[in-house]
Symmetry: C2
């Protein structure tokens, strides 16, 4: 079984549009145990499109083509397909019905441009499109089946879901049961994760790494002759990975770090507040991306200036003068200050040098202090050095702060 | 001249990672008048990778390969390249230097896994990587040059910029002069931008649309027989677009909205503070993504709870009780409060319902109030309704608030 995809469109080649259909289809097919063997993208060019169709012929069992079915002059897919299959374009009655139904639903008249969309290669199977005017279609040549779908993501996804995925699912009945899982880790470089997982791989499970700065994600795919074999392999592999990586793993069920913290805060009936300098609000932004976060997130202060640190958070002037804004005494006072201000169970504070300027020999760009004040465990802080651009340093700092909150909630510090 | 790209990685095939490198490279090459003819993506599979290398051989002049240079067992690119070029892997001194320099900069020791990254096909040209441990390399076969780059976006972009783009630029000297420009707009849907620009297209200039939520970007590419012809066509087209779109255009020189505001604040010697409820810190985060923003951004308050709105910002209890937290009187009081607290020239405040729950008939999810307090012009506010997910509503709100700041700074409200 070999499935290929071909995406067409000048906007994909020139950095104007990011191809979300491939990403979506990869996930949708993987989750039912199918995979895309090869993906090709070409511009709106007759020769290159036909070349791509030809390359897949015989080699692939199924080819999913997206884009080029619209009403404009650079929509070439049906025309090229007609030539490729040796089946001239003809007005397809079912196709015309699909176009007219859609126009009617939108209260629009049939135009010559839309009528063009119903001209399909002779002998096509029409994949009626209730989400847009372009009908999809499929054709078979030399036992390779080609599916032609519109490139508009909503329409692509709808026709995949309605026709292509059920088709492929039925076609490849004899494939192995499969389970997939995403394990998210933070705190180790990829090479170190790989070293700690050396030898963890086993029959029937595939392990893939994804660097998702500043996290490393592991994607596990377990196969088996039966569902329960796939299930067992997955749970054994997951347990082994957890044993090896321990607290570096923050999620095995797809949650983000901020979702994990939200869950922990909610379970423990704890509340949180933030005092941010160098992250400029990013920590609060991430925490509040989680629906329902108003239940445990009380308030945040972005104390960019020293005045704000003193005035709102009550950081002593002496601490700022003696140690500077980027120091342990100051982040500890900030954490204490914001926890006192909000009455939260935990206060977290960061101060650092995000760059690109402002670094010194003693405190280079990327130097960050993070303080925590916990209602029962008191105040603590740590000093860190992060690398990268301004935005990366902000992101790395927010991640570390969130991870410290996670660990204190797990009693793991 | 034919340039192809090959991306490798199971994570790309399985919907784990969206390929940003292709998107980035398409844009970067287009802006110097080069184009990608074909893009292929394959998983971490020796046969398929080699098949993709082979398909490009002879057909393409240059092939840019990304991914598979990491230290883990699914990083196969160097091994497959060695077989493809008939040049066995050997420890490359320059490559080892690149790895060691990078590890040293990060204060890390050389591990066996990292050492693996310095084994390159014999005769490779090393593309030293100062941004990560994986050195890139290039090889030539039958007049097709292959560039092998890491898949990590930051490293891919850095090696493209440092080696590949200058190489290709020099190689294809005889192409037409080209100018590109990105015009960023905010405030109109794409169909309306297209309607206002109907008929603006002219000989020698291409216009492409990119939806970059919540902004619409226009990509202009002007060609000419000479540099000055391309230049003239670009400036005429840009002037025409500015005439038609006016204040909806916020940048023609590549700046983000937050950079535009930063520039305006700096020019006018003004300072800014923020009081955020539903955006949860996102506005402050965006403002502080700009280097040097501490010169004009004084402080931010994320007043998620009503207590914070009253206690820190001095929002009257009566306003909260009479109108609710999501109301004009409350955002106006928040804006006044944060401006008073910080002493800034402008205070901006937002309060809304980001969802997915919390909406009512009167104030559905997406209802947002934005208030401004300006030192000379006093307090004003507006009510808006945004659509989308929680994160989209947060983003749309932050964009609108930043655009209101831009307009008040331009005296354009």
């Amino acid at each position: 079984m070999r499935i290929e995809m071909i995406a067409t469109g000048d906007e994909l080649m020139s950095g104007l549009t990011r191809d979300g259909n491939f990403f979506w289809a990869g996930d949708a097919l993987n989750s039912i145990g199918l995979e895309i063997a090869l993906h090709t993208t070409v511009g709106d060019d007759r020769e290159r499109i036909e070349e791509a169709f030809g390359a897949a012929l015989g080699r692939a069992d199924a080819v999913i083509v997206s884009g080029g079915l619209g009403p404009t002059s650079d929509d070439l897919t049906a025309e090229v397909a007609a030539r490729f299959f040796g089946a001239p374009l003809e007005l397809n009655k079912e196709g015309l019905q699909s176009v007219m139904d859609r126009l009617k639903a939108k209260g629009r008249e049939l135009t010559e441009k839309n009528r063009k969309q119903a001209f399909l290669p002779g002998g096509s199977r029409v994949l009626a499109n209730r989400w847009g005017t372009a009908p999809g279609f499929s054709m078979v040549r030399d036992r390779t089946v080609y599916y032609f779908l519109p490139g508009v993501p909503r329409e692509f996804q709808a026709l995949m879901t309605e026709y292509v995925i059920p088709d492929l699912d039925a076609r490849y009945k004899d494939r192995s049961p499969v389970r997939t899982k995403l394990v998210r880790t933070y705190g180790l470089p990829e090479s170190e994760v790989a070293r700690m997982l050396d030898g963890v791989e086993r029959e029937g499970v595939r392990l893939g790494y994804r660097s998702h700065f500043p996290e490393i994600h592991l994607r596990l795919t377990a196969y088996g002759d039966t569902d329960s074999e796939a299930e067992l392999r997955m749970s054994e592999m997951t347990a082994d990975i957890m044993d090896r990586l321990g607290g570096y793993v923050f999620s095995t069920e797809g949650e983000t770090l901020e979702e994990v913290i939200g869950k922990l805060l909610r379970e423990r009936g704890m509340t949180l507040s933030t005092a941010e300098s160098c992250t400029g609000g990013l920590i609060a932004h991430r925490i509040t991306n989680v629906p329902g976060s108003s239940d445990y997130f009380l308030e945040g202060v972005v104390s960019y200036s020293n005045e704000a640190k003193m005035q709102i958070l009550g950081v002593p002037k002496e601490a700022l003068e003696a140690h500077g804004a980027v120091s342990a005494p100051v982040v500890e006072a900030m954490a204490r200050g914001v926890r006192g201000l909000s009455g939260s169970g935990i206060g977290v504070a960061v101060s650092g040098i995000a760059g690109p300027s402002g670094g010194t020999e003693e405190k280079p760009v990327g130097t960050v202090f993070i303080g925590l004040d916990h209602v029962e465990r008191g105040v603590s802080s740590g000093k860190f050095l992060f690398y990268g651009t301004r935005e990366q340093i902000k992101l790395a700092t927010s991640e570390k702060a969130l991870d410290m909150i996670r660990k204190i909630l797990l009693n793991n510090v």
